[in-house]
Amino acid sequence: MDFVNAVVQGILLGGLYALFAAGLSLIFGVMRLVNIAHGDLIVLAAYLGLTTTVVLGVHPLVALIVVVPVMAGIGYVLQRGVLNHTLGDDILPPLLVTFGLSVIIQNALLEGYSADPQKMDAGVLETASVALGPLSLGLLPLLTFAIAVAVIAALQWTFYRTPLGRAFRATSDNQDIAQLMGLNKRHVFGLAMALALAVTAVAGILLGIRTSFDPSVGGGRLIFGFEAVIIGGLGNLWGTLVGGVILGVAQTVGATINPGWQLLAGHIAFLVILAVRPNGLFPRISG
């Protein structure tokens, strides 16, 4: 029973990891940018959520109404103002610049909020649970998973059914020719980063309700996001959800065997899949 429970909890946790990963995946897919600061941006979103709940006295989920557009705006400005200038044939500049950004965000959060762990108060949502046969499922994990599925479905729809998604795919395929179609690639990249950070906002708020956080936890979220993306296969959004679920299940099952093995089990699952399927489980079919 413990085992079944662990698997189910792991699946639900995977939803959160998929949310960490979706923005990374989107950015890499559209502009081949590996954003080292992604985890710190998730933490930034959590802090913005915290401030919003405190200042406006609203529920963390209501704070999404503020944090999502703010993070999207930050994403657009960051891309147009900084990251676009790092993109080119050389992959090193974006890595270095986003690494620097990661350090800056962490230090700014330390200055602004101190190193003390913080948490958002979501009231009954944190403790409420639903009985499913012998299992008791937390409402928050269930909601997180449902939101993850909805977000990924929305991203998928945007990518494959809208003019914006067409612009993303075309720019990803061939930047030169995309520009001949009247697309300003800097603007397209700005919109992609805005969308990615909008998703990051959701991830950050759900993270901040689920666990306590401090300015240093971004790196760990980045790793989980990376692992989910790679397991699922680069550029495949539903694959990213599966990747998150596999990572979540490995962690919770590992923790049932030995509480100290949670993170290790996740990393081992990642390495095993990478060894067996170097392109991930569902790589995007190219060409």
Binding site: D173, Q179, G182, L183
Partner: protein, 235 residues
């Protein structure tokens, strides 16, 4: 005296440190079909990419309807009414046939061309519209590339070696469609290795040799000998 829609004045274009064009003077008149010929590496693609804004130049070296565009961004140039059918087609592999055409219409210029008319011009594309563009034959891909450029309703359309790598029958079909494309007052620049084809469809011709204009004249007036000399630089 016809009005030029596009004028190049002393265009020097570079690939990094490498200079590919040297002081090219050229004009395209309103409504004409201009052919550009030249050997491999003469600079034909460089010329078209410069006009399209993919290679940055001094602003004044390229003017379009009197406006300097030598340093304009490619998306801005596209919105002004310049479209290109690039060398090697370069369709978007993650887009279906119809999506490739639709993205061509993104520049949102008014004009006669729309999906319906492109499908009327190339009916096979309508049958294949939901397929991945990469699944088409070379000739069909070229039709998509042409349709994609037309969807922008350009005033000036540039073709870079549309017959490259295609079977003769296909080339004939595509060239048969050309009058229907440029007949409506659209100006065109055609870069072509096949000199006979180039001369047959154009009113004037330029020959490039190692980045310089080595010959210009009326397509029905230049002689084979002139062209051979301009092409290879031999006496």
């Amino acid at each position: 005296m016809p009005e030029p829609i596009l004028t190049l004045t002393g265009l020097n274009a570079f690939h990094g440190d490498f200079q590919a064009l040297y002081g090219v003077d050229l004009e395209v008149n309103e409504g004409e079909v201009l052919a550009i010929i030249g050997a491999n590496g003469a600079g034909k693609t460089t010329l078209l990419r410069s006009i399209a804004g993919l290679i940055g130049n001094e602003a004044s070296q390229i003017t379009y309807r009197g406006r300097p565009i030598g340093n304009a961004r490619p998306d801005v140039v596209a919105k002004m009414g310049l479209a290109m059918v690039p060398e090697g087609r370069q369709l978007f592999p993650s887009l279906s046939v119809e999506e490739n055409l639709m993205i061509g219409g993104r520049v949102n210029r008014a004009g006669p061309w729309n999906l319906r008319r492109v499908y009327d011009l190339f009916p096979i594309l309508e049958e294949r519209k939901a397929q991945a563009s990469t699944s088409l034959s070379g000739g069909q891909q070229q039709m998509v590339a042409i349709g994609r450029a037309l969807m922008a309703n350009p005033d000036l359309i540039m073709f870079d070696e549309i017959s490259l790598g295609l079977a003769p029958v296909i080339i004939r079909d595509i060239y048969k469609a050309l009058p229907g494309i440029v007949g409506g007052g659209m100006s065109a620049v055609i870069v072509e290795q096949d000199i006979t084809k180039a001369l047959a469809v154009s009113s004037r011709v330029y020959c490039l040799q190692e980045g310089r204009v080595s010959l210009k004249g009326r397509s029905d007036a230049v002689s084979r000998e002139d062209i051979a000399r301009a092409y290879f630089g031999v006496e």
